[in-house]
């Protein structure tokens, strides 16, 4: 059975291309394309103060690698710059700013932020705040008063100290890419056999039902593991993603996850009459949840309760968690076992359902 399916796959090299080249390309695209770091934020400076102090602050923003001064508009022109997308923030210094500082008093500056994109806006405010604090520190130092800090906070960033997005994304992306391939390939290939009527022929042959299903799944399991290797090789070489924990555990979990996804593909194909429908159902039930509800991009902690509950039924969630633990934190069995158990339960449930539906369909 398995060798027949392998033959099928071999005859359609596009399938193999879809299975092997696509994950590598996707990984490169995601790894390079998705980055949350906003550096070189285009900022406008409105200096109505015209004092050495106001110029000093503008220079501090200009020198920082986080900001690029792109315009020096009047305050009422800021909104237009935001609308055209030419600036994302504006520093507004009103008359009196320099005089206050020169008199050793606090002085206010306005930071106008284009809040449409909240994650960029938050980062802009954090970065601007750091510059303002550095400016304050410098001014106080120059007063010649004792400025030894009264309390210090030292941050130790573990696992990904250089804050590289790919190191965060690649482990999660693995789950997504494996899932896409497994669910869609099985769902489509089996739906095609239904459409063409070759499935009924198979069942009329003396091969057992269980063997047919198994034989259909084994080659795709092989493709999935091949995909995993491609992803791991690209991830570790191009993006320097570490694999600190056990590779064996990683492969074991991936295998279990693939069984879940293949089972899901089987279930979809058993309930869909044609390829078109199978594709749509695959997209909605597996791709979308794997992308959105797995914690790969968006933290599950922040989601509303209803989505948190749904995410428990998304296998990708467990694989993302386990992969991050193993690859980035060097975790072992002791941190991964809950994910292992959850994936096993999902696998058993989905395969049972799929087999039952399959049998009902041929009966």
């Amino acid at each position: 059975m398995a060798s027949k399916e392998i033959l099928h796959i071999q005859r359609d090299p596009r399938m193999l291309y879809f299975a092997i080249v696509m994950p590598a390309v996707m990984l490169l695209l995601f790894g390079f394309g998705i980055s949350f770091d906003t550096d070189r934020v285009p900022i406008a400076v409105c200096d109505a103060d015209h004092t050495p102090e106001s110029r000093a602050l503008a220079n501090a923003f200009g020198r920082s690698k986080d900001f690029d001064i792109v315009a020096r508009p009047r305050p009422e022109e800021i909104e237009g710059l935001f609308q055209q997308g030419r600036a994302q923030a504006a520093l507004v210094m009103r008359p009196g700013y320099g005089r206050n500082l020169a008199n050793e008093r606090p002085a206010e500056v306005e930071l106008v932020v284009d809040g449409a994109d909240p994650s960029s806006a938050n980062q802009i405010m954090q970065k601007a705040d750091a510059i303002a604090r550095a400016e304050t520190r410098g001014r106080i130092l120059r007063l010649g008063v004792p400025t030894q800090p009264t309390v210090e906070a030292r941050a130790w960033i573990r696992y990904n100290p250089r804050a590289l997005s790919p190191i965060f994304l690649v482990p999660g992306l693995t789950a997504y890419l494996l899932g896409v391939g497994a669910v869609l390939l099985t769902a489509l290939s089996i739906a095609r056999e239904w459409e063409h009527g070759s499935m009924e022929q198979l069942f009329a042959s003396p091969v057992g039902r269980f063997e047919i299903i198994l034989g259909k799944l084994v080659p795709y399991l092989g493709i999935g593991m091949l995909q995993l290797l491609v992803i791991l090789v690209v991830g570790t070489t191009v993006f320097d993603v570490p694999v600190r924990g056990s590779l064996l555990l990683l492969l074991g979990l991936a295998l279990l996850f693939l069984v879940c996804m293949l089972g899901q593909g089987l279930l979809i194909s058993a309930t869909s009459r044609n390829q078109f429908l199978a594709t749509q159902r695959g997209l909605i039930t597996s791709l979308l949840p794997s992308l959105l509800l797995s914690g790969m991009l968006f933290p599950i902690d922040n989601m509303p309760m209803a989505l948190k509950v749904i995410s428990w039924a998304v296998p990708a969630r467990y694989l993302v968690h386990a992969f991050r633990g193993i690859m980035l934190k060097g975790g072992g069995w002791e941190t991964a076992w809950p994910d292992f158990v959850a994936l096993s339960i999902f696998a058993v449930v989905v395969l049972t359902f799929a087999t039952v539906r399959f049998q009902r369909r041929i009966a």
């Binding site: 879809f18 996707m26 695209l29 394309g33 998705i34 949350f36 770091d37 906003t38 550096d39 285009p42 609308q83 206050n100 020169a102 050793e104 008093r105 606090p106 002085a107 206010e108 500056v109 306005e110 932020v113 449409a116 994109d117 909240p118 806006a121 954090q126 705040d129 303002a132 106080i140 800090p149 009264t150 309390v151 210090e152 906070a153 030292r154 941050a155 130790w156 960033i157 573990r158 696992y159 990904n160 804050a163 590289l164 190191i167 965060f168 390829q275 429908l277 749509q280 997209l283 959105l292 509800l293 968006f298 933290p299 902690d301 922040n302 989505l307 968690h321 991050r324 980035l328 941190t335």
Partner: protein, 385 residues
């Protein structure tokens, strides 16, 4: 001669209408296709809007208070008060905190050293340690900046007290007062949902056309239509019109959900949005048509559409800003209609941009629409001939 030409035009028009009617009937008769064109975008936009949240708050935090004084307890309470950090565990050693980080139970740990309260009072500058799980850069940078801001403020307060004792009442401080335009409560959904619109239109136009025309090729019905006296161009136009209509219907539907459920404002002129949508749908339908000319069956049609959609969605600035991409990758986004449509939608809805602000996007979308449609039509006709 004039009458003849007029007759010909009238004939072409009536043929066109007939094809549109046939296509519309065929598409809308199938309840599953309708549910896919309407229900699927609905599910996706709601799911996206609810799940997508880049706000970093409730970071699970382990607290190690080696001091246990009234001061340390009070400071910790204040640190946790704004909700960015949420205490999930109280442990007594750094090793235990590290273990919680390893297990993923905690995303950060705050360690107050022994003697913190006494040192602070005596002016001996105690050092607080913050351990951060850096796997997620967005989260770790927020944790670092939250804690450093908090303890920075504490330090400034101490400094002020010390200077007050020395007779100094004020300091030259630079105070940054933020003012947020367009999305003052900084809600992620308000920004993301309009971007999702651009992605959904691809799946209801590009993939559906690619698969639909590939199916006709697979079954040979396209050739049947060609032996009828209908012009290929009329035929093609008639086939596209129902999908343009579905695209517009989806835009209206999603606009209703956006404003009703996710509080997305509509600040700019809707006609500009409608024009942008029309130009954009021309591009996405053109891509679908192109894909169908290189596919021989539905599976290939789907894969082709999918292979266009994923990279196009990634390199559009919808999820993460284009300016954050590496410099060599940014020029690629110039070839992507999704990028300009997303910019247009967000500009019009959120920032109240009108024709004067978004004409560059409209111009680029026109170029894309006309080019893609012409190339696709040309290839389609050649393939049929």
């Amino acid at each position: 001669v004039k009458v003849e030409r007029l007759k010909g035009r009238r004939l072409a028009w009536s043929q066109f209408r007939a094809v549109v009617r046939k296509e519309a009937l065929q598409t809308f008769r199938d309840r599953r296709i309708i549910s896919m064109l309407v229900l699927a975008p609905l599910i996706q936009v709601v799911l996206f809007g609810l799940a997508v949240d880049f706000d970093v708050d409730h970071v699970p935090t382990a607290v190690v208070d080696m001091d246990g004084s009234a001061t340390s307890r009070a400071q910790l309470r204040q640190l946790l008060a704004d909700g960015t950090l949420r205490r999930v565990a109280r442990v007594s050693t750094e090793a235990e905190a590290n273990q919680l980080l390893d297990q993923g139970v905690a995303g950060a740990a705050v360690i107050i050293p022994a003697g913190f309260g006494a040192d602070l009072e005596a002016g001996r500058s105690p050092a607080v340690q913050v351990l951060v799980d850096g796997a997620d850069p967005l989260r770790s940078s927020t944790v670092v900046s939250t804690t450093s801001q908090f303890f920075g403020r504490l330090a400034a307060q101490g400094l002020r007290e010390r200077l007050a004792e020395a007779g100094r009442t004020h300091l030259p401080e630079v105070k940054l007062v933020p003012r947020v335009f367009f999305n003052p409560r900084l809600k992620t959904a308000v920004y993301m949902v309009p971007g999702i619109l651009a992605m959904l239109l691809v799946s209801v136009t590009t993939i559906v056309t690619a698969m639909g025309l590939s199916r006709e090729r697979e079954m040979g019905t396209l050739e049947q239509l060609l032996v009828t006296p209908v012009e290929p161009l009329t035929l093609l136009g008639g086939k596209m019109v129902p999908f343009v209509a579905v695209g517009f219907f989806d835009v209206l539907l999603l606009l209703a959900i956006m404003t009703g459920l996710f509080e997305v404002p509509i600040r700019g002129p809707l006609p500009v949005l409608a024009l942008g949508t029309l130009l954009y749908v021309c591009s996405t339908l053109g891509v679908g048509l192109l894909v169908s000319t290189v596919s021989s069956d539905q599976q290939q049609g789907f894969m082709g559409g999918f292979l266009f959609m994923l990279p196009a969605a990634l390199l559009s600035g919808i999820m993460t800003p284009v300016s954050s991409m590496p410099a060599w990758l940014q020029p690629v986004t110039w070839l992507n209609p999704l990028r300009f449509f997303a910019e247009l939608v967000r500009g019009v809805l959120l920032r109240g941009a009108g024709f004067r602000q978004v004409w560059p996007q409209l111009l680029i979308l026109t170029v894309f629409g006309v080019t893609l449609m012409s190339v696709a039509t040309y290839r389609f006709r050649r393939k049929l001939a």
